[in-house]
């Protein structure tokens, strides 16, 4: 048990260290949320309004945080494919540590970096007219962490057996983009046709974005308890699958 904790820590440490070292990546990954907020948000905002009294850019703000968390999580999960490609995964898989600690370490690292990356988007809040208090910031950080834990776990389960980056493009186009659009980040889920709503209900992103909206804007589609329950359940199931997939190989 103590050995496993040590292993989780060191796997986490490696990823976070590399994230921290790559300052240019941290800065450049702020460009995308900025584009969404200030170009898409302001542009669409001139024609559309968000639900209730909320302006469109404000409405998008939690969604853009969610997007940043989503993309960073996927990027972290994909680090497994990098590790495999460059051989480092073998070093991890042959070590006297359990497969669960590998998955948990990777997932925690992904959620740490995604939370840090997402928290940087909070800097834009004053520019889009969103007021943030300390409790709101802390609650948002907690949701970002939990959401990215779920998303990274899903990503790891998907990437664990992937041998190349070809599959990654596929995942981006077929899963990640629809997950983003059908999460209520860009438009509310409630107004959608029935089949799209069905997809949205099965989308873990939707619950994360909903939770962020409740905390930051006070608008909601589901209850916060439901949001968190779904996110945690997805995390547990995805991690379980990821461990099983990993156990299957050597």
């Amino acid at each position: 048990m103590r050995e496993d904790l040590g292993a989780i820590y060191v796997i986490w440490l490696r990823e976070v260290l590399k994230f921290w070292r790559d300052k240019s990546r941290i800065i450049t990954s702020l460009i995308q949320p900025a584009v969404w907020l200030f170009i898409m948000g302001k542009g669409l905002g001139s024609s559309f309004r968000g639900p209730g009294n909320v302006g469109y850019v404000e409405f998008m703000f939690p969604g853009v945080i969610g997007m940043t968390v989503l993309f960073t999580s996927v990027f972290s999960a994909v680090s497994i494919i990098w590790d495999r490609e460059f051989g480092f995964l073998k070093e991890i898989l042959v070590a006297p540590i359990s497969r669960s600690s590998v998955v948990i370490g990777k997932a925690l690292a992904g959620s740490t970096t995604a939370m840090l990356q997402g928290s940087l988007v909070l800097v834009f809040a004053p520019l889009v007219g969103v007021q943030l208090s300390i409790p709101v910031i802390l609650k948002s950080l907690a949701v970002m962490f939990l959401l990215s834990l779920a998303l990274t776990s899903c990503g790891i389960a998907g990437a664990a057996r992937m041998e190349s980056f070809h599959g990654f493009q596929l995942i981006m186009n077929f899963f990640v983009m629809p997950m983003y659009f059908l999460s209520g980040a860009v438009f509310p889920v409630s107004g959608l046709p029935a089949w799209m709503k069905l997809v949205a209900v099965g989308n873990p992103m939707a619950y994360g974005v909903d939770a962020l909206k409740q905390i930051i804007l006070g608008i909601q589609e589901f209850s916060l308890v439901r949001d968190i329950t779904v996110i945690l359940s997805v995390t547990v199931v995805a991690m379980g699958i990821a461990v099983l997939v990993f156990k299957g190989e050597g």
Partner: protein, 324 residues
């Protein structure tokens, strides 16, 4: 003491036996070489010993632990240097070693001291804080070997440790391996398909088509070939041939304008040759049999290709041409 005991170990992939009832022991502190062409079952055997693949049948005990039932204990007892690079290029040499030390439970102060000690031995102390991506191929290989024994394993597995390295670096790597045996009292288990390198081993198992076809010291294996090959060119080969029979009791074969024959301990034999022969000697060459020849003799094939059987002399001549 036997550090590795293997009994009738087999691995089947979809009905094909990659490793077929292999049995051998490795003594503590020896350099044990696994020699064979690609696809002979070397890597599969190593993977089973390292718990990365489960045997289809048979048993393997490493450091007293069963590779199937006590996989974690086995993993703690071994260091593994892979054939392909497995370092994190975006971490420094020190960080790569630190990661390894932590994941293998080498704690705190002891770990830091050990990292310095290892870097010293592989002569990379001055590059401690440099990112691995700035390293040359030889430096990376050294670092990988250093990482492999950082956690005080009992057995260090080296899968093709010098593949893709230039001859000078290869020699340097071998020096490190010999040092490790002495300084760290490690048992070293390595695979190679370089015949000249296999001679660095204390014992060699030759594996072909999933089975061990020979297991002995390099010297013993070479003895099976019947000695060193001498090639002699004289002014009068016919006369020399007769003289060899009458004076030295040697039957030589004529080949390409020279005489070819085998003797044991060729170095001592050549001075006798000059003393005894009246025919004027133009050239003498002495070829020590190599493990190439052994492999060829045992399996009927050359190690690097499957081109089929070639005669020993043809092989020797070809090699001479390559070296000359």
């Amino acid at each position: 003491m036997q550090i590795i005991e293997v009994q009738k170990l087999s691995k089947e992939f979809k009905g094909v036996k990659a490793v077929n009832e292999v049995s051998f022991d490795v003594a503590q502190g020896e350099i044990f070489g696994f020699l064979g062409p690609n696809g002979a079952g070397k890597s599969t055997t190593i993977k089973m010993l390292c718990t990365l693949q489960k045997p289809s049948s048979g048993r393997a005990i490493l450091n007293g632990f069963d590779v199937v039932k006590e996989a974690r204990e086995v993993r703690k007892s071994i260091g593994l240097v892979f054939q392909d690079p497995s370092l994190d290029d975006n971490l420094t040499a020190e960080e790569n070693l630190d990661f390894h030390g932590r994941i293998y439970g080498v704690e705190g102060k002891a770990r830091r001291a050990r990292i310095d000690e290892v870097l010293e031995l592989i002569e990379l102390s001055d590059r401690k804080k440099n990112l691995v991506k700035t390293f040359s191929g030889g430096m990376k290989r050294r670092l990988e070997i250093g990482r492999g024994f950082l956690h005080y394993p009992k057995v260090l597995f080296l899968d093709e440790p010098t593949v893709g390295l230039d001859p000078q670096t290869r020699n340097a790597i071998w020096e490190y391996i010999h040092q490790l045996k002495v300084k760290e009292k490690l048992t070293i288990f390595l695979t190679t398909h370089y015949m000249d390198e296999a001679e660095n081993c204390d014992r060699i198992a030759i594996i072909d088509k999933g089975e061990i076809v020979a297991l002995a010291t390099p010297a013993e294996l070479k003895e099976t070939l019947g000695g060193d090959v001498v090639r002699l060119v004289t002014v009068n080969n016919q006369l020399a041939k007769k003289e060899l029979v009458t004076k030295l009791g040697i039957f030589a074969q004529e080949e390409l304008g020279g005489l070819v024959f085998q003797v044991t301990e060729g170095e001592q034999f050549i001075p006798r040759l000059f003393k005894e022969l009246d025919s004027e000697i133009l050239t003498v060459t002495l070829a020590k049999p190599t493990l190439d020849d052994v492999f060829l003799k045992i399996t009927g094939r050359e190690i690097r290709s499957d081109e089929g059987a070639e005669s020993t002399t043809a092989l020797i001549q070809r090699r001479r041409g390559r070296r000359g």
